[in-house]
Each structure stands twice: as structure tokens, then as C-alpha cells.
Symmetry: C2
Subunit: 460 residues, 2 copies
């Protein structure tokens, strides 16, 4: 069987793969720092050349910011195409003094490769290049078509990716996209992330008197915008923690029995989480577990509030203005635009008549839910099972991933395969970031298996 | 009648009085600026020498900060003593470019004397020196005993006055204190301020998770301290604007019928106030007029609130902490310490159990109410009637005056005569501060009359 040959070859090439990855990790491609602009470009060129070397057509594309590497090999007109997304830029390494070995001197210790970007995301997207290389070496061909998109601005919010995708929509057309830029559920529990929460981020500003007033002279008659603001905000949630905005839950798709069962079976410790957060109790939604509440149920949080005097001591002011930022995490089938409208309608109704209110929608993101019944998802299940030796669990994540929304929307993709090869404690964005060499190998295996599984499932 | 002679002499000396006041006003005794330290001392010495020149025993007293001028003339062992309080320091003049004439080049224009300190407080306390001078000139004696206390740190919060008063409690003992450092109710409506609100200023801090969290990863299970804070704060007031803290109103002395009648008769325009504040409606306490609500009823205002992200854009954080400053204006017989305890008890009860709460009392001030039935107050009524030609109105002020609490408490004085000679639009603390020359003259007359009236009422 070809996969056995391929896995064997992956094992025998392992040390070379690690050496190559170390080369890439040694380039400090910190996208946020202008003094690293040259390094960022150097990393892009390294990826470009590597793609060419393994037999892909590849080029750098200018975006207005850091370049995108585009590579492809599409030999089969009637077979499916997999688009692979990754990013070659990294977070800053500060505080560098907290690293045990220098962040850009990749070092192997106890089965882990330590370096900034090891897990996020150089080590993870590199698995696909190694998988392609080994398939081509062993079979002389690819079972399906492949397109590679590796950007250099993920860590700064992908400011140029949207425009780039729109311009290259046809070029990037695919039947599925694989993104390995996250983690397994926990060590040796590989996962497919099939759900992401969406977001509706609002700002409200309350205006009282035209100017700040002395609370001695005007307290008792001047409407206080902070008092008004807290009275509005306090009515956003019910005493049991559920959200009081009328209609908020109307479009929420109920959790399916299999999901609740799957989540209930995950090795999740509330006690560990409470210890980590320094809390005596969590505040789950009534009727839902902690894991369900934090990943699969909608929320409302006040993310910021301000008004009046916050310095040391006592200043007796009635401020002219006060404001707050409020965000709601959304789940299918809530639409950010509809939720923003319900929010606006509700707070407008709550606003005491003696002050005036301004409501702004600052940001919105659609929730994402990928059906596990899609053949591409089932192909990923089998690929991970082959690569890791255990079947993946299905998980939902509480946050949104902006590039996922972008890719889904612009490229009109349903089959989004979020296959994190890392671990929650890899230290992405933190000192001593690392990537398990065992995960690296399993990731390459799974990536290789995925090409074959996508061929089997979609060309039957 | 002697008072007629005295008033006549005040009229004929008017120009000289203005010239002398201009000398004092020309000294930039800005107490908050260390580079004006020499000027502040020069002003103290000017007052000292002036007191001596008009026939008082006088000296400078060191306080650790700017000096206090102490002057007295106590010829009658069995007659009452009036203590006069004033301050020779002034606010900074910035923004100087907004002054029509230089702040320390006193200038008469259209019946007003323009200069920093003209109304607050050099021009006002100077009326007592001129009154004493003229009484001594006309009668060769004083009808009662007088003590003068003029400090140089009022505009920076009188940091050394408390210690000074405690050390000189016996020296300053008096039967009444006159303070002219405020204003009439409005032009040609002289007033006796018989009530000041007190203050209880609290700070509350709510702690949620031990560190800031990402609202995507932890929203739905992590207790949000801002949400908890607003739920607490929103319950401090009832929907009708009254204060919901149990027991808060228990010790509030009801407004007496004469007070409500007096306040109702004052020339007070809600329309003007609304226009000034830029508001369509005021929020009076139910059952009370705007004037009653802002001067004679207790209040609760949130003076500041903070927590999480208040910058531009959207940051999805659940902060570890949030806090607020809340102050309550108090009226007799509310005690700041008791109110602070009721507040603490109530918010502790309101605090959701998944977060922790810290409550601190930052500042307290007793409410002040001076009985209009005191003979000294009735003496002041007659003195103002004589000096201004109309009887004064009785008013309460919404703020506290820290030096009043200090003087009342340390010197154990009940008869506190708050007799503002200025006008609300004198521009104290603002550019183009001024003092009406007509008010200056009426103030001197009233001050002179007060000495005789205190003699009549208390030595009958």
C-alpha cells in the first residue's frame, strides 16, 4: 500500500525535515516590525524556493504589504483541488529574556523544537510541503490538485489578504481548504475544529450635560451619563446570565445530540480551568456544560467601560459623557448584522429619556459551522486517524478566526478543514514557543493521507 | 444714628478703598505655583501691614506651607467675638490670553474691578478690614471683639489649616464666624447660605479572573467584572431616581415648610438652567423642585468608571478588574460614616458570587445646617438688609466647603455666617474674574452693620 511506503519515507527523512524547518525558523520574520521587513521577505523567498524545489509552480505576489507565496500543482483536470493556507510571519519574541534558548536559534530539547513560529505557523504549514514532496517522490504524481497560499501578515490581522483573495478568486478556486494553524484538543487528542463563534462588537456612548459638571452644584438635577449607562448595561443580561435582548436567541441552532455527546466525552477538566483562571466558580449558561458554554453558545461581554474620573482620590464630577464596548459571540445561525440591529433597538429603548445615546457597530464576524457530513471532512477524519493513530475529536472554538471568514466568504468554500497539529501548551505568542517533533511527524503523515483520502472520497 | 455716619464715610472713602484693593490684587499670590511663593508671602505681608495700619494687633503665623495672617482687636471682655475668615491666595490666571486686561493689573471697567482674586477672595474679605477701619475712625472703638484669620492655601485645599486651627483653638475662640467667599443668589438678591451638603465618596473594585482573558476563548464561563460592576451600580438607584440603599433616607431631616416656601420664592429659572446645561429636561427628585433637589436633598452620582479596553476599535477582552467611584451628597442628619457603612453593606450584598469586591471610603464631609433662629444669623439678616437695602434670602448650597467643616468642627462653632458678597457670574477661577464695585461697597456696609447688629443681639 502506497501510504505505508510514504509513512516509512517520512520517518526516514525526519531529521532532514527538522533541519529544513530550522532554516525557516531561523529567519526572524516578525511582520509587525518594519526593521524586520527584509527578514519577512527572506522568509517568503525561502518558502517560495522550497515550493519550487519540491516540484510546485510557485511565485511571490505583491499585496501592498508583505508578499504572499502562491504555489500549485494541478495535474488532474477532473479531480478535486485542495487549497492549503498558512502564514510564514511570526509574532514578536519579546520578552526575549524569558526564552531558555534564543527565539531565532531553533533548538531541539526533549522531543520539542523550540523557536518563535515553531508551532504558529511555520512548523504546521511546512507539514503540507513535506507531504507533497514525499508523495511526489514515492508516486511521481499527486492524487489530487493542490494550491498553496502562504501569507506574511497573519499576525498583524491580514490587512491585505482580503483584496488579494478578491483579485485572485478564480486562481484560488478549490474544493476544500486545509488550515493547520491551531492545536489538537490536548496532547494525543487530535481534533477537527468544525465550529467557530461569530462576533458582533458594539460601542455605546451616552451624553448627559454638554460639559462636565460639579456634582455638588448640579447633583440631583443633572442627568449622569454613567448612571444611565450602567442602568442600560445591567439590563443586557438576565439574573441567570442569559442574554436579555429580545430576539437574541431566535436564530440560534440548537446543539445536536451528537455534539453534546462528543463534547461530554472530551477530556476536559473544570477544576483545572478554575485553577488556571483563579476562580472558585465558572458561570456556565444554565443547562449547558462549561465546554458548551465557552465554545458553542452565544455570549455577551462588556469589554470596556469609561467615563468621568478614574485617577487617584476623589473628584466630584458629573461627566458629560460615558461609554462602553460590548461584544456578543455568535453561533449559527445568528447574523452579526441582525444581532447588531436587535442590540441597537433594545439599548435605545432602555436609554433613560434625559440623556442621549449613540450606538455603533464596530465589527462583525459570521459564525462558522462546517458540517461533519461533508465528504471532505470525513476524508480529514480518516487522514488524521491514519496519521495520528487515533480518530480526531470534533470540537468547536469560542473565538473567530478572521482569515477563515475571509476565505469562506471570498472563495465561497464550505469545506473548511481546521486541522491543528499543535498543542494548547505550545506557547504560540509566548516565550519558549515549541512544536512537538512527534506532532510534526504526525502532521506530515496526516497531510499526506489527506491528499489520498480526498481523492478517494471525491473521485469515487 | 452712627450707622448713617459710617455708611456716609464708606461712600466718601470709596475711591481710596478701591485703590488699596488694587494694590493687593496686583500681587500674583497663586498658591499652587512654587515660583509664586515670594508673591504669596508678599500678599500675606500686605494684609498683615494693612491690619496693623487700621489698628489691629496682627502677626504672620507659619503653618508649614503659606503663612496665615492672624489679627485681632478684643477690647470688650463681656461682649461677643466675631471671627472673620478669608484667604489671600488666588487661583492661577491661565489661560491668560482670554483676559481682556492682565489678571494682575487690576482695572475698573463699567463698574467692575477686573483682576484675579477680585471676588475670590481678596475683594470680599477686604470689606471687613474696611468696615473695621471706618468704625474705629468714626467711633474710636469697636462694638464687639474681632478676630481675623486670613489663610494662603485655600485654593490648594487648605492642607495646613486643620493643624493650625487645632493648635490655636483657644486663640480663635469666637461666638460666630463670618465667611464672605461666595456669592449672592443673583444680582441684587443677597443671600445667607445656611446649608451645605455633605459627602460620602466611595470606590468599589470588582475582581473577576486573575488576569485579562480573551472573550473568544473564555466568554460564556469567565465572570466578567464589568458586567458584575454595572449590575451592582444599576441597583444603587430606583427607576424614579431615588436612592435604593436600604436606610439611606432614614436620618434625612425633612425640609421645613418655611424653607420650601423660601426656595419656591427665589428667582430661579429652570429654563435658563436647562439651556446652560444643554439639556431638554432636568431629573429632579420626585416631589421636589429643581432647586430643592440640587441643594437640599441627598444624591448619588457615579463620578467615574473604568475597566477593560477604552481605546479605538474592538478588543475582545474580559478584564480581570473593573472599578467605579460613587459619591453621595448628604443632608442633615446623615453621617458620612454611617452612609459609607450602609453603602458598603448594600453593594457587598449585591455583588454576584462569582466575582470579588473591594469597597473603600475615600472621603467624607458632614452636611452643614445653620439654624436661622440663631441670634447671630438674625443679626446678619439685619446687617445685610442695612448694607444692601434689601433683606437677604436664605439659600442652601449643593456642595460642601471643606474649610467650613474644618472651622465648625475644630472651633466648635454653630453660628457660621456664609455671606457671599459676590455674584454667580463673577468668574471665580475663570478668566476675567471681577467684583462689582457696588457689591464691594454694599459688602463693606454690611460688614460694618454686622458688628453693630452682633452687639445689639448678643449684649441686650
Amino acid at each position: 500500500m502506497r501510504l505505508t511506503d510514504i509513512f516509512q519515507k517520512i520517518d526516514s527523512n525526519h531529521d532532514r525535515y527538522v533541519r529544513e524547518l530550522k532554516e525557516l525558523l531561523a529567519i526572524p520574520s516578525v511582520s509587525t516590525y518594519s526593521h524586520h521587513r527584509g527578514d519577512v521577505r527572506r522568509a517568503a523567498e525561502w518558502v517560495l524556493n522550497h515550493c519550487k524545489r519540491i516540484g510546485l509552480e510557485a511565485r511571490l505576489e505583491d499585496t501592498g504589504g508583505h508578499p504572499v507565496v502562491i504555489a500549485s500543482r494541478c495535474p488532474h483536470q477532473n479531480r478535486p483541488t485542495l487549497l492549503v493556507y498558512g502564514h510564514y510571519d511570526v509574532q514578536p519574541a519579546e520578552p526575549e529574556e524569558e526564552w531558555n534558548t534564543a527565539p531565532f536559534q531553533p533548538t531541539v530539547r526533549d522531543g520539542f523544537l523550540y523557536a518563535r513560529g515553531a508551532s504558529d505557523d511555520k512548523g504546521q504549514f511546512f507539514t503540507y510541503l513535506k507531504a507533497l514532496e514525499v508523495i511526489l517522490a514515492v508516486t511521481g504524481d499527486l492524487p489530487i490538485n493542490v494550491k498553496i497560499l502562504v501569507e506574511g501578515e497573519e499576525e498583524i490581522g491580514s490587512p491585505h489578504l482580503g483584496a488579494f483573495l478578491k483579485k485572485n478568486r478564480e486562481l484560488l478556486r478549490a474544493d476544500a481548504i486545509a488550515i493547520s494553524d491551531g492545536s489538537q484538543f490536548s496532547e494525543d487528542v487530535p481534533a477537527i475544529t468544525y465550529g467557530l463563534r461569530g462576533l458582533s462588537y458594539m460601542q455605546i456612548t451616552v451624553q448627559g450635560p454638554r460639559t462636565d459638571l460639579h456634582s455638588g452644584s448640579f447633583g440631583g438635577i443633572a442627568p449622569n451619563p454613567i448612571n444611565a449607562l450602567v442602568s442600560i448595561l445591567a439590563q443586557l443580561k438576565n439574573p441567570d446570565g442569559t442574554i436579555a435582548i429580545p430576539g437574541f436567541y431566535d436564530t440560534v441552532a440548537p446543539l445536536e445530540p451528537w455534539e453534546r455527546e462528543a463534547m461530554g466525552a472530551l477530556p476536559f477538566s473544570e477544576e483545572k480551568l478554575k485553577a488556571y483562571l483563579g476562580l472558585e466558580r465558572l458561570c456556565e449558561e444554565p443547562g449547558y456544560s462549561a465546554l458548551e458554554s465557552k465554545t458553542a453558545r452565544p455570549t455577551l461581554d462588556i469589554n470596556g467601560i469609561w467615563g468621568g474620573f478614574s485617577g487617584e482620590g476623589a473628584k466630584t464630577v458629573i461627566p458629560a459623557k460615558a461609554g462602553a464596548k460590548v461584544s456578543m459571540r455568535l453561533v449559527p445561525h445568528q447574523k452579526p448584522r441582525d444581532i447588531a440591529a436587535l442590540f441597537t433597538q433594545y439599548v435605545t429603548r432602555l436609554c433613560p429619556k434625559e440623556v442621549s445615546l449613540q450606538v455603533n457597530a464596530l465589527h462583525g464576524a459570521e459564525p462558522v459551522l462546517v458540517s461533519r457530513d461533508l465528504p471532505q471532512v470525513q476524508a480529514a477524519v480518516r487522514a488524521i486517524h491514519a496519521g495520528f493513530g487515533v480518530a480526531p475529536v470534533f470540537i468547536r472554538e469560542g473565538g473567530s478566526i478572521p482569515i477563515v471568514n475571509l476565505l469562506k466568504e471570498v472563495l465561497e468554500l464550505e469545506a473548511i478543514l481546521l486541522l491543528g497539529w499543535g498543542r494548547p501548551d505550545d506557547g504560540a505568542h509566548a516565550p519558549n514557543e515549541r512544536f512537538s517533533l512527534s506532532d510534526f511527524k504526525k502532521g506530515i503523515r496526516s497531510a499526506a493521507a489527506l491528499f489520498f483520502e480526498l481523492h478517494s472520497c471525491c473521485c469515487a
